[in-house]
Symmetry: C2
């Protein structure tokens, strides 16, 4: 399907899951071809490389497709071993995987994302889930530049959406989840993350475009999440 040694990333411009993979490839200095997918009108390519879920991102390495951003990050780290994203020690790796899952489930899916896609009591519950989860994340980050200490890694990329997308979702949903005074560790991390040379160099979509896109998603998804 592909040329030898080729790296392709099939993505969608505003997806925070795709953004993680872009960051990881940039950190490792891996050159790749980016292919924009219309996730609302899926191409034959996407059905072919990810028939099970049909989601982006999919990394296609030498013709072999790998879906799901946390799995892609581990794959990248196993194939290109320089500048490691995960620690080598099995216990530390397990902790990183635990917090990655925690961030994706509690801070993202059942927290921030559900806040964006709901209203009323359901939204209030999701706000609480997100805040309680951030309290636990705060304990992990307090006094450190990044999750792993001084260098950026797997958990920072998983958490990345908190730095630039959560404020957009809060603005659209008209709620407050991330209070910098309550979460000084996360507030400091946000600055460190956005000022990291690789993260700074990767262009994010403009605030206006993100506001427009997620405002529309909120309107479409509220009735679906309510059922």
């Amino acid at each position: 399907m592909e040329n030898s040694q080729s790296v392709r990333l099939v993505g969608f411009w505003v997806s925070p899951y795709v953004q993680r993979v872009k960051w990881a490839l940039k950190i490792k200095g891996i050159e790749y071809e980016y292919i924009e997918e219309d996730i609302f009108n899926r191409s034959p390519l996407l059905s072919q490389i990810n028939p099970a879920s049909g989601k982006v991102p999919v990394l296609v390495h030498d013709g072999k497709p790998i879906p799901e951003s946390p799995i892609i990050l581990e794959y990248i780290d196993e194939v290109w071993k320089h500048i490691p994203l995960l620690p080598q020690d099995p216990f530390e790796r397990a902790q990183v995987r635990f917090w990655g899952k925690f961030l994706d489930e509690k801070v993202f899916d059942l927290g921030s994302w559900l806040v964006l896609c709901s209203e009323g009591e359901k939204q209030a519950r999701a706000v609480n889930v997100a805040i309680e989860a951030l309290e636990k994340v705060e304990e992990q980050l307090r006094g450190k530049s990044f999750f792993g200490g001084d260098t950026i890694g797997y958990l920072d990329l998983i958490m990345g959406f908190v730095s630039y997308l959560l404020p957009i979702w809060e603005e659209i949903a008209q709620v407050k989840i991330f209070d910098p005074l309550k979460f000084p560790g996360i507030a400091a991390w946000t600055k460190n993350f956005l000022n990291h040379e690789v993260i700074k160099a990767e262009n994010l979509p403009s605030k206006d475009e993100m506001l427009r896109y997620f405002q529309w998603r909120r309107e479409v998804l509220i009735p679906i999440y309510a059922s």
Copy 2:
């Protein structure tokens, strides 16, 4: 907290997540102490070793606690490398992780488990999710003894609940998800799995006890999942 070289498993008698870890330890021939936890009245030990989620299983190895069954299986495989549970090739590992996540999300959480904890239209939707997911799993298993070919591994342990627990949930919820005629690959796998010497040697709870426990869970959880 613990003696050197000690392996402890904190679990709950009927949890399919705990069962996976018991199987993995048995396959590797690792001796361990099992500690039964009352998950409805959590001990100080559990709050100490898993403050973030408070869930079982937790593997405590030389005093270091590792929660979440998929993460524990990877940890066990990284520390005790004989009789590998995951393949060594990065692409094959990524595929195993993808299907593990797929099984846990689609076949378990949003499928079978939600079927047990819901009724009416919500239940009908969950039945469909489970069946559509099993269709994709069937393609993976057709013509093979286990997911990885001839030997038991990570995905078989993740899928294990389908072999002994799904029939119980179906009976309680009075629905049919797993039709052996429609899923001959999974039907053959179920036999291979339950007849594997390690799986056969690990005692499962009795059918009566499981029926009684999950009947009660269904009654308690229906209103919670409906809100």
